[in-house]
């Protein structure tokens, strides 16, 4: 489909987490999917997805491999979509517990906001089924941040400029592509 998308390559940060699930969504939009782990990989993509996974683990690996400053530079010039753990990495402030983040979006995020795995659940976002898995809760949305969708009264999908974050996982849905992947590609195109 969409021929004009075929030149776009989306890099999914593949240090740890749910990486491959994004492939069919991205390819269904006619874009290139690439897993990225090293600075050399980062240069070859047009935008980043920070996938779901364990934010503490991903942070340790970023530190261990000395990737922090390179990623700061990359994120400054390219669109970024953080999902669940990725949204935590993008938040300005993280609680429960406090931890370091790239502060790309002026939002406050509380880790494991719903509780343990027992509280993980599916949700319906505009008729599209997604999962909240040990998900964070966005407790505060700062200036200029648009709330694209809410769930149980809390924002779960937000955007400001070229940065987008969702606390839910659309990539677990097997109907490709998800509206969220489509929205991200549109954002990359704009």
């Amino acid at each position: 489909m969409s021929k004009e998308y075929s030149n776009i390559v989306i890099g999914v940060l593949a240090l740890q987490g749910a990486v491959e699930l994004h492939r069919p969504h991205i390819e269904a939009l006619g874009c290139g999917f690439r897993t990225v782990k090293t600075p050399r990989d980062f240069d070859s993509v047009d935008a980043f997805i920070l996938p779901g996974g364990e934010s503490t683990t991903i942070l340790k690996l970023i530190a261990n491999f000395g990737l922090w400053n390179t990623l700061v530079d990359q994120f400054a010039k390219k669109p970024v979509w953080g999902i669940c753990a990725g949204s935590i990495l993008m938040a300005e402030k993280v609680t429960n517990p406090e931890q370091k983040s790239f502060a790309l979006l002026p939002i406050d995020v509380q880790r494991n906001g719903y509780g343990t795995q027992k509280e993980s659940h599916h949700a319906d976002i505009n008729g599209y089924k997604v999962s909240l898995i040990r998900a964070p809760i966005i407790t505060k949305v700062g200036e200029g941040v648009e709330t694209l969708e809410s769930h149980e009264g809390d924002p779960v999908w937000v955007q400001k400029g070229k940065y987008m974050a969702s606390t839910f996982h659309p990539e677990v849905n097997q109907d490709f592509p998800s509206p969220m992947h489509r929205a991200f590609i549109d954002l990359v195109m704009s």
Partner: protein
């Protein structure tokens, strides 16, 4: 399992998807859990004693005392898994009640039922189970396991059994993908595997739930080996806290697992161990009853 509710991966398997590319570490105290989290573990597995100590001490190995599990849960923000005995659904109920994130119905503990496994579909909290071959994996998935792992031979520091199980499952899957329905039914009979699950395996070319590796991982290279063979995450039991320097050891295994297909980084990690790996046991030196992989039916 990735049995679809609508067209979405089951919420229990969803968490396993999030743990991919990581290391899950056995811990017996909250302090160890903290060390594991600081080293970059994606989850910790709370248990009473690590497998090598269970082997040494003998006796009955059970679910951890609830206080310990709760201390571990209070100490870390990453998912906490805990083991219950095979067939001991009451222990599993306690673990669910405490709110652990994953239950391992594990052959490392002394089995409570020598005929039946837990009906895992009754639980909201997901289960991981071990398997030596595809038949066993399919039976566990049929019972509702949301994640599989090799059994390996825990507590030995010897990777040979985990390799055997990974190879066996991969080879069984290859056979299945080339079979027609008639052949598949006979193969299902031979494996003792539910036909419907085998159909899913044939369609997907892999298990319908993630497949992790466990049992005998003692070095960064062991982790890299299993990951290259198709494991999606590794469990490390005795290997970390029975090594000379658990902090460094844990970090090195995390590093090697993230870059399992880059020998340069695995080498770098192997040089950062800060001591030697656990001593390890030759499998043929184990008495038959001490072979944990044979537990489970």
């Amino acid at each position: 399992m990735s049995e679809k509710s609508g067209s979405v991966i089951d919420i229990r398997t969803g968490l396993a998807e999030m743990l991919k590319g990581g290391v899950i570490m056995d811990v017996v105290t909250a302090e160890q859990a903290k060390v594991a989290e600081d080293a970059g573990a994606v989850a910790v597995m709370a248990l009473e004693r690590v497998p090598s100590d269970i082997r040494k001490a003998g006796g009955v190995a059970r679910m951890s005392p609830p206080e310990i599990i709760q201390e571990v849960m209070g100490a870390v923000s990453i998912p906490v898994m805990a083991k219950c005995r095979i067939g001991h659904f009451a222990e599993a109920q306690l673990l669910q009640q405490m709110g652990v994130d994953y239950i391992d119905e594990s052959e490392v503990l002394t089995p409570a039922d020598e005929e039946y496994h837990i009906n895992k579909r009754d639980f909201k909290v997901p289960f991981v189970c071990g398997a030596k071959n595809l038949g066993e994996a399919c039976r566990r998935i049929g019972e509702g396991a949301a994640l599989m792992r090799t059994k390996g031979e825990p507590g030995t520091g010897n990777i040979v059994e985990a390799v055997r199980h990974m190879r066996q499952i991969n080879s069984d899957i290859k056979k299945v993908t080339n079979m027609d329905e008639a052949e598949l039914m006979s193969f299902a009979r031979d494996l003792g595997a539910p036909y419907e699950i085998l159909m899913m395996v044939r369609e997907l070319g892999k298990l319908p739930v993630p497949n992790f590796a466990a049992g005998g991982v003692a070095t960064p290279a062991d982790a890299a080996l299993l990951m290259q063979m198709g494991a999606e995450t590794v469990f490390v039991g005795s290997g970390i806290f029975k090594s000379d320097n658990p902090e460094k050891f844990a970090k090195a295994i995390v590093k090697a697992t993230a870059h399992y297909n880059d020998p340069e980084i695995v080498l770098q990690a192997s040089k950062e161990l800060g001591g030697v790996a656990m001593r390890g046991t030759e499998i043929s030196e184990l008495d038959e009853p001490m072979k944990m992989a044979n537990r489970g039916w």
